[in-house]
């Protein structure tokens, strides 16, 4: 049942131009950054080979894609999650879903899976770009994998928060603005937490992503992203349940 919902949700996502525009925008910007830093590596290559402990191709050309990728997710995920629940409410289709023989958990998890699939698609595009340089060299595949894992975890955390906010309102635009505001708030936390001992580092999603960008997969970081994801998914389910009770 969950997969039916996920499938339906993906279908409706890609039958509106929005998902395509987001995909084109994300691909365009990331490719631009990738080609820029690839060019930088080609120019600096001879000098880097002589410098001990210099950064390699993966760090110079591929990791920046993930740096800009997190900002692009921060901006585009609100656009995709905004209509997941609030539009169902607005179009009065929520009543059908609620009265159908499925649980709220199935609805939320189904929609979340659709978002996760979309994220997976973006990661696939980035991975393709990263792997394209293997035509002329080798890359540090471990570092690439750590980055992919990190960006996926960051993305699903954003998606879960976006879905919860979408549950709160009947206006998709309001949901989008609210989500964007929350994500920007998270970003500002990251900027504010320059002191390494600050507790903000424990809370900040983007700060935790930095570890993945350096090639670390920390249990604490993975757990934090998963806890944030589950927390907001459970809250969303609770929210829909209590609305069903009221209806």
């Amino acid at each position: 049942m969950i997969f039916t919902i996920a499938h339906k949700e993906l279908k409706s996502m890609f039958s509106s131009p929005l998902a395509w525009v987001v995909l084109a925008f994300v691909q365009g910007v990331i490719a631009y950054v990738f080609i820029g830093s690839l060019n930088g590596f080609l120019i600096a290559q001879a000098q880097l080979a002589r410098t001990p402990n210099a950064a390699g191709l993966t760090e110079i050309a591929i990791v920046p894609m993930f740096g800009v990728g997190q900002m692009l997710l921060l901006m585009s995920i609100p656009l995709l999650t905004m209509r997941l629940i609030s539009e169902e409410k607005r179009n009065q289709t929520m009543a059908f879903l609620i009265s159908a023989p499925i649980s709220m958990t199935q609805i939320i998890v189904g929609k979340f899976l659709a978002m996760a699939t979309f994220l997976f698609l973006i990661l696939l595009l980035i991975a393709c770009m990263a792997l394209s340089v293997t035509a002329g060299g080798t890359i540090d595949s471990g570092l690439l994998i750590a980055n992919l894992i990190g960006l996926f975890l960051l993305g699903i955390s954003f998606a879960a928060i976006g879905i919860y906010i979408s549950c709160l309102t009947t206006h998709p635009v309001v949901a989008a603005i609210l989500s964007l505001a929350v994500f920007l708030g998270l970003w500002i936390i990251n900027l504010a937490s320059s002191n390494p001992e600050s507790w903000l580092n424990v809370v900040s999603l983007l700060k935790r992503f930095e570890g993945f960008m350096n090639g670390f997969v920390g249990i604490a970081d993975v757990a934090y992203f998963l806890v944030i994801t589950c927390f907001f998914l459970v809250l969303s389910i609770r929210r829909l349940d209590s609305e069903r009770l009221r209806a």
């Binding site: 039958s15 509106s16 525009v21 471990g142 604490a220 609770r238």
Partner: protein, 448 residues
């Protein structure tokens, strides 16, 4: 079901309890995961992870380590982030490593006091001793920490009483400035006067003979020979034109010190006062000189030649006067005489090693009395060279060698076709394709 106000309150309370429990569980999970401290380093050859030797060393150190990083953003990028990335694993391994950033452009005085010359240079301080680190490599940092900790308690003992350069003196031929730099790096210094004191124990000391101007008594020479014979480490600066009755010592360690002086006509062209000043730009392959980047100045220097039969392994450290020669005659209006003189380059400093029963005995001979004196220590790279010599002589056997982490991704050779495919495919075709797909769907839905 009838919804009463009591029912509503019940739901509210239930929701509150649920939220509190959910929050508690989440915080607990995050807290527990935070304690685990397990981090997988997925990079090739675990580039981010410190070696076991380094971790063990950091565990051994009780004192806090203070690091001042002199870094500012320049054309090559933000040096501050490079430095903090380099230091992060150390801070993770030892919690009382404090890093403090200083922008040398804003605080030039602090940078000058610390003797900083390079963007990204680090000043490492442990137990009131400090030393600068220019390279960001694990091996260099670890060995610097080992040197600062001075696990071995060896003492540098300066011989006095025969007009030698004195470690406590402030005169132009004394070595007070060198002594100051050594103390700051954790060396222990002492002086030895044969009139009042006995010979130090060869195993625990480095003997410094800084060019005696008057002759040693035969008995004193014998005591020094016995010290060296028993495996004592020695740093010997040789006075020009005389050896102070130490020729027997030269024989013992297997070197010859021909009388004369090195002349370098090129030095005068470079603005040095006379041809008796020689500039060294070439260094032998040796641990002392492998890190030398700058030139050094050798005033009034003499030649060191290995004797044919010696127990010691001879390694030239410094060669000077590539265009000059070793003059054995009068230096007034001297010209090169192929019969008596020797053409450059001339070796003016050498390191000698011999394996004794317990350890490796180390000796450095410098053919100049003045190169490291107060007057010339601050010239060019002279102080770096002097510190290198003493670091090697006080030879911490604990120094460790850590191979630099290898990388796979240093080369990229893309054919023009591949470049054009990457640029056009990812930057033009894919985004345009997505836009077209979106447009097509929008158009079809409008028609439907």
């Amino acid at each position: 079901m009838k919804i009463t106000s009591r029912f509503r309150t019940g739901v509210l309370v239930q929701n509150g309890i649920f939220l509190a429990l959910l929050l508690a569980v989440s915080v607990l999970v995050v807290f527990l995961a935070q304690q685990s401290n397990i981090k997988l380093d997925l990079t090739y050859s675990q580039r981010n992870t410190l070696t076991d030797e380094t971790l063990a060393l950091l565990q051994d150190i009780d004192a806090p380590i203070e690091i001042t990083a002199f870094a500012f953003p320049d054309a090559d990028g933000d040096m501050q982030s490079v430095v903090s990335k380099f230091l992060t694993p150390y801070q993770a391994a030892k919690s009382d490593i404090r890093v403090n950033f200083v922008d040398p452009r804003e605080e030039p005085n602090i940078a000058r006091q610390a003797g900083v010359t390079k963007n990204g240079e680090l000043r490492i301080k442990i137990n009131e001793r400090s030393e600068n680190l220019k390279s960001h490599s694990e091996q260099d940092l670890v060995n610097l920490i080992i040197r600062l900790m001075r696990f071995n308690k060896r003492v540098v003992v300066g011989l006095i009483g025969h007009g030698e350069g004195d470690l406590r003196g402030q005169g132009s031929r004394d070595l007070g400035d060198l002594a100051g730099q050594l103390t700051a790096r954790g060396f222990k210094l002492d002086t030895l006067n044969f009139a009042s004191g006995g010979m130090p124990n060869p195993g625990d000391n480095v003997l410094l003979i800084a060019s005696p101007t008057s002759d040693l008594l035969p008995g004193e020479t014998n005591r020094i020979k016995r010290f060296v014979d028993n495996g004592g480490d020695l740093l010997w600066f040789v006075e020009p034109n005389k050896t102070g009755k130490l020729d027997e010592l030269a024989d013992l360690i297997g070197i010859e010190l021909p009388l004369g002086i090195v002349l370098d006509p090129g030095a005068k062209l470079r603005g040095l006062p006379s041809a008796t000043f020689a500039l060294a730009a070439h260094y032998g392959k040796h641990p002392i000189t492998e890190k030398m980047e700058s030139n050094t100045l050798f005033p009034h220097s003499r030649m060191i030649v290995p004797a044919d039969d010696g127990e010691f392994r001879f390694a030239p450290l410094v060669e000077v006067a590539e265009q000059g020669w070793f003059e054995s005659g009068d230096i007034k209006n001297a010209t090169f005489d192929p019969k008596s003189d020797i053409k450059g380059p001339i070796v003016v400093a050498a390191a000698l090693e011999r394996n004794t029963k317990e350890r490796t005995q180390r000796i450095v001979v410098v053919g100049s009395a003045f190169a490291f004196s107060n007057e010339y220590l601050s010239s060019l790279g002279n102080s770096d060279l002097a510190l290198g010599m003493l670091n090697w002589l006080s030879g911490d056997e604990k120094l460790i060698s850590i191979a630099p982490k290898s990388r796979v991704d240093l080369n990229l050779d893309l054919s023009p076709l591949a470049v054009s495919l990457i640029v056009n495919g990812f930057l033009v075709v894919l985004p345009l394709g997505f836009i077209c797909a979106g447009g097509l769907i929008w158009w079809r839905r409008r028609r439907a």
